[in-house]
């Protein structure tokens, strides 16, 4: 919960967090090392100095650290786990639903566990999706379209097999499809960041919500265009968020573009923890105002109401969370003992 100076309470849902193991012990090959090293560069490049972690902590952190950084120190009321399996790079996977669910058990009512699927798993994968739904009651999946699998270096949302999985999602009530569009590792002659396949899938499945992570960066312009066409396309702010500190002017430009092309109901706050910590992101975001010239030029303002929607209300709507009753539940929450 974030409290404004006037005492108003803002319910915060961090829509994109990870509990990963990128340690050398878990790395399967050079790609595993390069992957976590790249994340660490993201972390070092955009975090304020006081929030830069030592490398070994960044590679692998424990559950108490995570709960503390989010719920005690970081104003977060609830967080959504977005798994990233990367099973070709890491022996036990990088950040799997099963690992995430362990943590969710320790801190009930705090975490939403999302699943993942990979259409290249065929029928077996459909059965696994059913199992995830039965075991964890998942309401969302994270898709990592650039993930390697055998000789395949990626897939598209518009592939016929992906449609089969999306049909299964409809059937199981898994409504939220989080799509990650990069960093790509596919030597295709096309642009692998291209978000056009989201457009097709969103039209074909109007009953599902497609949350494009990193607001389509590095193809923000194409993402914005698609989102104007498809009312069920949303933008997750992971990776865009830390610019609020490092390059506030650019953050202002991006937020105003998003508010112009989408609307305030389709933008979701996300830290991408542990790449960045929610504490400073939220503090800087709450203190942030659009520069006057940008407001004048675009006619866009970033009011407290809009901030509240971005920080929690929009995600709550997608995941069927009643904020008032959830607040009551969390007041009585004793689950944070080990973390504070």
């Amino acid at each position: 919960m974030y409290r404004t100076e006037s005492g108003e309470e803002i319910f915060v849902i961090d829509s994109h967090v990870h509990y990963w193991d990128g340690s050398p012990e878990n790395q399967e090959n050079i790609h595993g090392k390069q992957f976590i090293d790249c994340f660490y560069d993201y972390h070092r490049n955009l975090s304020p100095e006081d929030y830069v972690w030592p490398k070994d902590k960044f590679e692998k952190y424990d559950s108490q650290t995570m709960a503390h950084d989010l719920f005690v120190k970081g104003y977060v009321d609830m967080a959504i786990f977005q798994p990233t399996y990367l099973s070709e790079f890491y022996k036990n996977g990088f950040n799997t639903t099963e690992q995430n669910a362990e943590l969710a058990k320790l801190y009930p009512d705090r975490f939403i566990v999302n699943g993942a699927f990979d259409p290249r798993d065929g029928e077996r994968g459909l059965a696994y999706l059913e199992q995830l739904s039965e075991t964890y009651g998942i309401k969302g999946v994270k898709l990592y379209t650039a993930e390697w699998k055998g000789s395949s270096k990626g897939y598209k949302l518009s592939d016929p097999m992906t449609y089969k999985y999306l049909e299964k999602c409809c059937e199981l009530g898994i409504q939220n499809i989080h799509v990650h569009k990069g960093p790509t590792i596919t030597p295709l002659n096309r642009d692998a960041f291209d978000v056009a396949d989201v457009d097709e899938a969103a039209s074909a499945f109007p009953e599902l919500n497609f949350i494009v992570e990193h607001v389509g960066l590095p193809r923000l312009e194409d993402f914005c265009w698609i989102a104007t066409q498809e009312p069920n396309v949303y933008g997750g702010l992971a990776v865009a968020m830390p610019f609020v500190h490092a390059r506030p002017r650019y953050f202002a430009t991006i937020i105003s573009e998003l508010l112009y092309w989408l609307d305030e109901d389709r933008i979701l706050f996300a830290s991408d923890y542990a790449i960045w910590e929610p504490k400073w992101l939220i503090e800087k975001f709450m203190a942030f105002e659009l520069p006057e010239d940008i407001q004048e030029e675009t006619g866009i303002t970033l009011t407290l109401d809009i901030k509240k929607k971005i920080l929690g209300e929009n995600a709550a709507r997608l995941y069927g969370i009643d904020i008032d009753s959830q607040k009551e539940k969390l007041k009585a929450d004793a689950g944070l003992k080990g973390a504070s």
């Binding site: 560069d41 490049n45 960066l217 312009e221 430009t253």
Partner: protein, 237 residues
């Protein structure tokens, strides 16, 4: 034979023409060129990118552009391009040095050449450069009608009157030539990327689109510069 200093300068001038297609900035400006070695008629250029994972298709375009631009120098017999610290460094270096195309270098993972990809990003660069220039003109108090009526020649003359605008004007006219051909002096300066005219009543909406493209490209450029700086120079700071 030219002096070593002259030859180095010529190589650098050529490299200044090699762009990162996603960012529309030259590899020299971005600091991606790692080393230039000149041994007689042989030139070796090594370059680095912000991450190990940067898209191999764009990396291939940059590597082959380096080769092609340097090869244009009449005193050069052999060009060797070395991409470093990248997932596909070996494959790309090998393919480029053997004059293989992208599809020949990655027979399993590509289904064609990079021409369309290059075109897509040159179109984006066209919009971004156009947006930057138009906004400068608007800020200087020029009306939308006047801007839409500018000819290529008007822009060239403006370049003399406003030295601060010179770079933006040259940069826009150069990509306009590249995308739409040389054109005549009296041709309309600001047109859509397919060459059609922009009507006054659609200008505001059009500028929203060009802005979207420019913002995205500029954002990527700061992001990539930051990552590059972090990857290679963090300890030195």
């Amino acid at each position: 034979m030219k002096t070593k200093v002259d030859r180095r300068k010529e190589v650098e001038d050529r490299l200044a023409q090699v762009m990162d297609p996603e960012l529309d900035e030259s590899l020299i400006e971005l600091g991606f060129i790692d080393e230039i070695r000149i041994d007689g008629r042989r030139v070796t250029v090594s370059f680095k990118l912000p991450t190990y994972w940067c898209s191999p298709n764009f990396a291939f375009l940059m590597a082959s552009d380096i080769r092609d631009r340097i090869r244009e120098l009449d005193w050069v017999d052999e060009v060797s391009v070395r991409l470093k610290d990248h997932l596909y460094a070996d494959a790309i270096n090998d393919g480029v040095s053997k004059n293989r195309s992208f599809a020949e270098t990655f027979p399993e993972f590509s289904s064609g050449e990079l021409n369309q990809l290059r075109k897509t990003f040159r179109d984006k660069a066209f919009l971004a450069r156009q947006d930057r220039l138009i906004r400068y003109l608007l800020k200087r108090g020029m009306t939308k009608t006047a801007i839409l009526n500018f000819t290529i020649q008007d822009l060239q003359e403006l370049s003399g009157d406003y030295p601060a605008l010179k770079n933006h004007i040259e940069s826009y006219l150069s990509i306009r030539r590249e995308c739409l051909g040389t054109g005549e002096a009296h041709d309309t300066a600001f047109v859509k990327k397919d060459g059609r005219r922009i009507a006054l009543q659609e200008f505001a909406d059009y500028l929203k689109e060009t802005q979207r493209t420019r913002v995205s490209m500029e954002f990527n450029a700061i992001h990539c510069r930051g990552l590059f700086q972090t990857r290679y120079h963090k300890e030195e700071e």
